[in-house]
Structure formats: structure tokens, C-alpha cells
Amino acid sequence: MFDFGDGKTNSLTMDKPHPVSLLDTGVQGVISHPLDRVDGPLKVSGSATYSAEYQIDGLAHGVLVGAKIGHGKIVSVDADAVKSLPGVIDVVTDFDTFIKVPQQGGETGAPTQGVKEIDYFGQIVAIVLAESFEAAREAAQLLPITYEKSEGTYDFAAHRDEADKPSDAMIPAHYTQGDVDQAMTDADVTVDLTYITPSQNSAAMEPHASIAVWEDDALTLYSSHQMPTSGAQQLAKSLGISAKKVRIIARYIGGGFGSKLGIAPESVAAAIAAKQLGRPVKAVMARTQVFDATVRRSNTEQRVRLAAGRDGKLTAIGHDSLTSNLASEEYFEPVGIGTHFLYAGENRSITHDMVRLNLLLSGSMRAPGEAVGMVGLECAMDELAEKLGMDPIALRKVNDTQTDPEKQVPHSSRQLSRALDDGARLFGWDKRHAKPAIQREGEWLIGMGVASATRANMLQQSSAKVEIHPDGSATVSSAMTDIGTGSYTILAQIASEILGIPVETITMSLGDTNDPPAAGSGGSWGAGSAGSAVYLACEMLRSNLAKAMDVPEDSLTLKDGMAIGDNRSRAIGDLVGKGMEATGEIKPGKQEKETTQASYGAHFAEVGVNVVTGEVRVRRMLGIFAAGRVLNAKTARSQCLGGMTFGIGTALTEDLIHDTRDGKLVNRDLAEYHVPVNADVPQLEVHFIDERDIHANPIHAKGIGELGIAGAAAAVVNAIYNACGVRVRDMPITCDKLLDGLPPL
């Protein structure tokens, strides 16, 4: 997919540190500034076009049909029973080609295909096509399907002892170092605790949607995708056609949070139906189908063992997790991903085992691993601190390390202790009472909690093209996406800073696989990866402008559309002839192995627990983060607000409930699956620590989109304990779990 060789490509593999960045020497003065989003006016006026909103002639409306059993097979589909309804065009079933589950992020092959065998309740098995949405919906509801049921496994608790070891993934399924059992026996102080987190749903506001348009044997899919480049490959493989024949367009994406990393069932169904009907088809998943048949974050059961000396120094860390997925799937929630490198400690055991259940696919949701894994680790640290009689911040600092405790390589940049210290000062941590349940305001018990934040940093192969036009304006194009993260804006800022071209005259083209391939948005790698690709394209253009000016590169200044050097000044547009373009390409390299790269920070929460009802209110929350260069202070802050709020949801409200009789989701809509609403979220304070990471990429930025969630829930949980003295280890902490333990009014 990355085949250049046109002499206009500037490619960099991160084999060495990249200490110098043009973003530090640019004089346009826009990088890091809190600019308004360049796509803002379109979004607030309703004129940004999301996937289901393209106006296409001859569109047929498709409504998906989900299986009504949890395990078994389809005996028959009586399409004729609904075909005669007014407006109905056809019922399309393709038992072999329809995808059983969405694909995981970044895969280049097809996801598991074939839907005659039903492996989970709600699995998409057919699509009904009609001239109107209403007609298609009615026919989809009435479509008679006969099933043959078979025994399934739906109950995690009942099958937890049948767990198997999944294949190694981005982290090994099992890792051991030293002897945790022995260290637990020998240590002065230990904790051995089990934490539970339920299944969760990303619940992006825009449901998964695709419009499929065929032109001869080429498919254009307007679709809601975080990663269109690999998505097009997955779609091509699923349909048995060449990836060159698939174009995905995803200009605006109504949130993803991992749920739109890979293709989802509506994409293949729409493509097949459009081919069969010979006309474009739109398929939008109903909200209940997004819950039933896209992807969940797995539930987890985490046993955390910590052993420490009286000084708080950890001698052992054990983090053994059980998660769940379908029998056909290998993805496991990487619960211990942050545990591998967050704290020092010689003896370590970090394991992931999997319970095979007939429930919808488990896959990525915002900060896979850390988001729930740090509930276990960071709550256990809080419990250990209490047992040691240490301040929880002091315990974390004593175990801070500049060396990866497993790989024995340096951390690329790490300011955990500073984040904890600065955060404590800004939050007023000194007002916290170490003893729980002693601060009251009427019916409310007040407490504070802290947790470390960390999220592994990743770089993914990505490219972007930048063109300077004769009028001095520029265009940046890449198959990168903006899922609300701010990509449109930060990529324009990078180009503007290096080229001295005002942001207002830069046209952004993202979310189209006809543009240079990119890894898209996922795993917080988007800014670092696509941003570096834009950087490299601009670096080459800058060099070409210096040649055109006939000045050495280091004496060229680009600002406000002018090139200045050698006491001469020319309009940049006058230097580019009919136009000048370059493509930048970044690839991960040896730096990934030679350093351990992650973003860090700290979360602080103050909660009130109502002593009568057990209601928990988050009163204040502060996050302080170090994630390399902040590219736009406004959008970066918003990313952190979003992550912290996901943390509030994890701690207090989000709980996807599976019926243990057939796996059917009990709360498959936004009324019953409770994501935080405005009234649940107080003023959130976000601070950034100035940092450059020269090992990460040439723009020196690390991921930020998931850092805000990593540890956030634990800070809330720890604050609840500090407030009321009840330690709940089963998320979310609803009133019923607190009531019995609350002190008298």
C-alpha cells in the first residue's frame, strides 16, 4: 500500500532519535496554539457531511436484520413473506460472504465470514432493501427466519475456569520475570485483590453507516471509519476483489473510540446488496444493532498482587486477567499493557487468559488495556499505600523508574513523578485526609483520590501529500481521519508552521483512500504518525523552496506566505511554478525497541458520597499530562476532557449486561447503557507539562487521545473509598454496592 518511488517522497524510519524539529525553528507561530478547529464552522452549522448523508441518486434504503438466537444456525429465511410489502425491493442474504463480526483495527484480511451459523445474539444475517427507510424497517422486523438453536456459553462466571491462553498480540499473553509467589511470601507488606470490570460499549454518537456505490467493478463506500486505508483492504478481501477497486470516503466520523477501527457488518451487507440490486444502497445500523453487533470492550476479572518493603518499594507485581471473546477470535483486552512498564519491581507476572463465550465480538475501545487494567493496578496501589501507611503519591513516586523494568531500556521521556507532584499542588491534595470517611458536608461524605496515568505510545506507517499552489495556498491530503480528535486542525498547523503559509489558506483533504495511505485514527497514534508524514512532506518542500530561492536551507525563513533569505523576500507562490508537491512518509523503526515510549500523567478526583442514598457525585477532577509536544492546546485539552469523562463512566455508570440465558444484551440502547451526561461531569481541569520526545517522531509528540482515560476511573474509585470508607472492586460503583457499608447519618 505504500509504494512511492516518484522522487517526490521524503521517507523516514525512526531508527534513530530525531533531536531537531522544524516545529521548534518555524516562525509562523501557530504550532501548539489553541486555534479554533478549522472544521468548526462546518460542524456547528450542520454542513459537515457524515457517512449516511451523501445525496446520491437512486439510493435504496437497507435495514439490517440480526439473529434472534444466541447460538445455532439458520434453517430458512422466508424473503417472499415480506417482498410483497409496499416499497420493498428485495431481501439480500449471502450466508458465505456476510461478515460474522467486525474486523479488528489495522488487520489487512477479512474478518470472520459466514453467517448461517449463529454465534451471538444479534449477529447480522440479512439486509432488507426498500424504496424508503420506513418500508425497509417494517419488512426487516417482519422477516420470518427459522432457526435451529444449540447450546451456547453465555455466562462468564460459570465458564471462568475453562479459560485458555490466547495467542500473543501487541503484548505477550503471558509474561513472567522472577518469582512473584516467593516475593509475596517474603515481603513485609502485600495485597492480593480481585477487581471486576464489565463489558462496555464505545457508544459513538454516529451509528455505523455505509453507502455503497458500484461503478462497473469498482466500489466506493461512504462509511464511518477510523482507519480507511486498512478498512478498504478488509472490505476488498471480504468481497473477493482487489483493494485497488475499493475506495472508502470518511470525511467526517461521528466518533469512534475504537468501534470503527475495522469494517463492521453494514459495510459488506451494503456492498453486496448494491451489487445485487444494481443501484446504490445505504445501510445505517440502528442504535440497538450498534450495541448488539459491532464490538464491545471485554469484561475483565483482574487479580492484582503487589509485594513491597516497608519503604514502599515494590518487589513484585502480579496482574493476572481473565477476559472473554468468541471462540473464533484471538483478540484479548490487553489488561496488563501498562503494568509492564509503569512501576519498577523485580518479580513480575502479567498474564491474560480468555473465556470463550457466545457474546458479540470483544475488541478495541478507547485505550484498550489501560482503561480497565489501570482500575486494577491503580486501585491496588491505593490499597497498598493504606496498608503501608504511606501517602498514595509517595508510594507511586518511590516506584517511579526511568528504565523499563522488563526490557531494561530507557523510557523515551517520562514525567510521572512531576505530574503527581504538580497535580497534587494544583488540586490541593494536602487538604486530603488520609483516614477515610471523616470529611462531611451535611449528607455528603467528601474524599479525594489519585491515580497515575499512562498510555503506550505507538507510531504507525503513514503518508501525506502537501502541495503548494501558485497563489501561495496549500493543500494537505492523506487517508488519515479526524474522528473528533482535531486532525484537520493540527495537521494544518504543522504544515503552516513549517511552510510559513497561514492556516486559513491551507485546504485539508482527509478520510479518502484515494489520497496517500495512512494508519488513520486509533491507539492515539494518529497525530504522531500522520503529523510526521505532513512534517516530512513539508521538510522536502522547504528544501525545494530554498533551492528555488537559491539560499541555504538554514538561512531560509518562511512566514505569512513569504520566503525570506539572503536579504531577499519573495512570495512563496512565486517560487513554485505551476505548483510544488511532496509526499512524506513515516515508518516505525529501531527507536521502538531501543526505548519504551508512553505518555504519562496523573488524575485527581474529589467526590461526594451521599450517606443516605449511596449516590456518588464527582465534584472536581484534575488531569495533568505529559505527552510530548502539544500540537493544539485547545483540541488536546478536549481530548483529555473526553478521556477523563470515559473514566467517570467506567467508575460509576457503564455496565453492558449480557443475559446469561442467551447472551442477549439487556441494555442495548442509550437509555439503559449509561454514558455520562452533562450533569454527571463537573468542571474538569486539564494541565499539560511541557515536553519533547525526540525518540517518538520528528514532531516530538506522543499520543494524547487515550491518556485521559488511563487511570481516570481509578482516581474516582479511590476517592470514593477516601470519602466513605467502602472499598468496591466491582465496577461500576452504583449506589447498591455502597449502601450497606456507609457510616450512619
Binding site: 478547529r37 464552522p41 456547528v44 450542520g46 454518537m205 451509528p207 466520523i253 487538604k431 470529611q439 474522528i483
Partner: protein, 178 residues
């Protein structure tokens, strides 16, 4: 049937099952109003019907014969934004943008309700409904934002309501018991 939408009169025959939201999105090309749940649970479809905010997915087009309807497209356009739209841009009161048209229509309708003195769950009494952060958050809780721009949405609404900058964050100083 006829509707006045954003000041323009539309006349059409429509399926009795068509929601007001689908009328706009699927029949009139007005896709600014969003479908997030189709069940009145998320607020992304919020429109102003005769000045009041309504979940347009929960009401049928045929129930609105003759009504005056305002969608996000009518509130303001690129280059001619409504004060609430500008405030959302300034305060980053969105991220992915999908709930945003509903948030903005809801905010405009909400300020009108508050101006009329209508109380909310957060009001001290039925007759005392002074707008503050808690009131704004409560009244805007029918509009879900999964990106969680909530603090910024409150800031944007504060600006339009003329409430100025946020109340400062105070460190807790409750009484200390035994």
C-alpha cells in the same frame, strides 16, 4: 402536508411512519439534524418546533402540519453563524461534531425556557431558576456527547447567556469530623 422549515415552506406527501427527523434528513436534504439513536435518548436530532426544543426522531412529520420548524441549518450558516454556533467554535464545545447541531438547538431552546423562568430539577424552587452551571448542565443532560465536551458546552452557553467566565474552581473545605 406543509411545514415551514427555516423560513421556507415545504409541501409534500409523506409516509405516516416518517419521523420529523427523517423528513428532514431523507426527504428534504436537511442532514444537519443527526440521528444518534432514533429513540429520543441522545438528543442529536433536536430541532426547534414553534420555538420549543423537540427530539425530532420521536415525533411524526404528519403531526406537524403547519408548524414552524427551525433546524441547525436555519439557525446560522458558515460565514453567518448564530452566536451559539460561534460560541461552540470558540470554546471547543464539540469534538466529532455529530451531537453538535442537537446541542446547539437544544441550548438555544433551553436559554429561552430559562428566560421564561421555567424551573428544572436543579432549581432551588419552582419560582427560582437563576441560570448557573448546575442549571445549564441539568437542562442540557438530554443531549449526550460521547466525546464529552460537556465543560466546554457549558462555557459556550455561559458566554451566550451573558454569564461571563466560569465560577472559579474551589478546593473543598468542608467541616472535619471525627
Amino acid at each position: 402536508m406543509q411545514w415551514t422549515i427555516n423560513g421556507q415552506r415545504y409541501v409534500a406527501e409523506v409516509d405516516v411512519r416518517t419521523s420529523l427527523l427523517d423528513l428532514a434528513r431523507e426527504h428534504l436534504g436537511l442532514t444537519g439534524s443527526k440521528k444518534g439513536c432514533d429513540h429520543g435518548q441522545c438528543g442529536a436530532c433536536t430541532m426547534l418546533v414553534n420555538g420549543r426544543r423537540v427530539n425530532s426522531c420521536l415525533t411524526l412529520a404528519v403531526m406537524h402540519d403547519g408548524d414552524e420548524i427551525m433546524t441547525i441549518e436555519g439557525l446560522g450558516q458558515v460565514g453567518n453563524l448564530h452566536a451559539m454556533q460561534s460560541a461552540f467554535v470558540k470554546h471547543d464545545g464539540y469534538q466529532c461534531g455529530y451531537c453538535t447541531p442537537g446541542q446547539i438547538c437544544s441550548a438555544v431552546g433551553m436559554l429561552d425556557e430559562a428566560k421564561k423562568g421555567w424551573a428544572s430539577h436543579a432549581s432551588a424552587s419552582l419560582t427560582d431558576a437563576e441560570l448557573n452551571d448546575a442549571e445549564i448542565s441539568e437542562r442540557m443532560s438530554g443531549n449526550i456527547c460521547r466525546c464529552a465536551a460537556y465543560p466546554n458546552i457549558v462555557d459556550a452557553i455561559r458566554e451566550v447567556a451573558g454569564l461571563g467566565d466560569r465560577e472559579p474552581v474551589l478546593v473543598a473545605a468542608g467541616e472535619v469530623g471525627a
